[in-house]
Symmetry: C2
Subunit: 149 residues, 2 copies
DNA sequence: ATAAACCTTAGAGTCAGGTCTAAGGTCAAC
DNA sequence: GTTGACCTTAGACCTGACTCTAAGGTTTAT
C-alpha cells in the first residue's frame, strides 16, 4: 500500500493531480486510514498508470473515463468500442493538424513576402497583407493553385 | 460612424467580443455619444479588420497587440520586428504540429493492432498497450526504427 | 407616450486540466 | 513530547478567448 506522495513519486503525477483525478472519478484509493489517509493497492496503481499512459498519448479525461469503464469489465465490451474511441480521437487530431497546417502555410507565405530587414516597416508586405481584406488567404490560394483542388 | 451592432454585422465579431477587445486594448471607438454609445470611424473599422484578419490567421491577442503597436507608427519599426513575431508564431505552430503528429502515429499504431470487431475486449491489444508501461511508445519506436533517427 | 430595439457597465461563467492555498489533523523519529 | 514531514478538505486561482447576465439607460418609430 502506497501513500499518495509515494504514488506521486512513482507515477510522476503530483498529489494535487491525483486528488483531482479522484474527484473526477478516474481513480481511487481502495483503502483509507482512520484519519482519512489514502492508501493505494497494486490494483489502484495499475489503474493510475493506465490513466497516465492514456493521458500521455493524448486522450482527454472524458475519453479516459470511457476507456476505464471498458477496462472494468472487458468481457462486456467489444474491440469495436475501443476502436471507436480511438478513431474519434484520431479524427480530432487530424482535424487540428489540418488547421495548423493551414496556419503554417499562411505564415510561410507571409514570411516569404517580407524582406525581414532592418529598414522601416512602412513598406512591409506582411503588414499590408494584414490590412487587406482576406488578402493573405487569396494569395495563399493563388500559390497553391486553388482551381487544382 | 458605425454603432457597435453595425460594426458587429460588418466584421462578424460579436458586440461582446468587440467590447472585450476594447477592454484589452486592441481596439477603440474614436467617439462616444453623450450617453456613452460607441461610434466607430473608418479608421477604427480598419483597425478592427486588421485584428480580425490577424486573429483568423492564428495570431494570439498578445501577438496582435505587438503588431498593432508597429502598425501605429510603421516608420519607427522594421520589417525584422514583423518577421520576428511571424517566425515565433510559425515555430509555435510547427511545435504543436509535431506533437499532434506524434499522437497521430501512436493512435494509428494502436488502431492497426486492434481487430475492431464485435467480440469481447478481453483480448484487445489497445487495452493491453494502455496497461503496459510505455509499451505503445516502445512499439512505435520499433516500427519507425528508432536507431535510424 | 410607449414599445421595440438598441446601448451601457461590472462582473460572473465557460472550457480543460490542472495548480495552489488555508487551516488544520497525523505520524515517525529523536 | 516535540519537531518536521506528511496528510486532509473545500475552494480559489490560472490560461485564453470569449460569452453571457443583470440592471439599467437611450433612441426611434408609431
Ligand atoms: Zn521590408
Ligand atoms: Zn516586411
Ligand atoms: Zn479484437
Ligand atoms: Zn481490440
Amino acid at each position: 500500500m502506497l501513500k499518495i506522495s509515494e504514488l506521486s513519486a512513482r507515477t510522476g503525477l503530483s498529489t494535487h493531480t491525483l486528488r483531482y483525478y479522484e474527484k473526477h472519478g478516474l481513480i481511487s484509493a481502495s483503502e483509507r486510514s482512520e484519519a482519512g489517509y489514502r492508501y493505494y493497492s497494486d490494483t489502484d496503481v495499475r489503474r493510475v498508470e493506465f490513466v497516465r499512459t492514456a493521458r500521455h498519448i493524448g486522450f482527454s479525461l472524458n475519453d479516459i473515463l470511457d476507456l476505464l469503464s471498458i477496462r472494468l469489465d472487458k468481457s462486456r465490451h467489444s474491440c469495436q468500442e475501443v476502436t471507436d474511441i480511438t478513431e474519434a480521437k484520431l479524427a480530432e487530431v487530424n482535424a487540428r493538424i489540418a488547421e495548423l497546417q493551414s496556419m503554417r502555410q499562411t505564415l510561410q507565405i507571409l514570411l516569404d513576402s517580407c524582406c525581414g530587414g532592418p529598414e522601416s516597416a512602412t513598406h512591409c508586405s506582411i503588414m499590408e497583407a494584414l490590412e487587406a481584406e482576406q488578402e493573405a488567404e487569396v494569395e495563399k490560394d493563388r500559390r497553391l493553385g486553388s482551381d487544382a483542388r
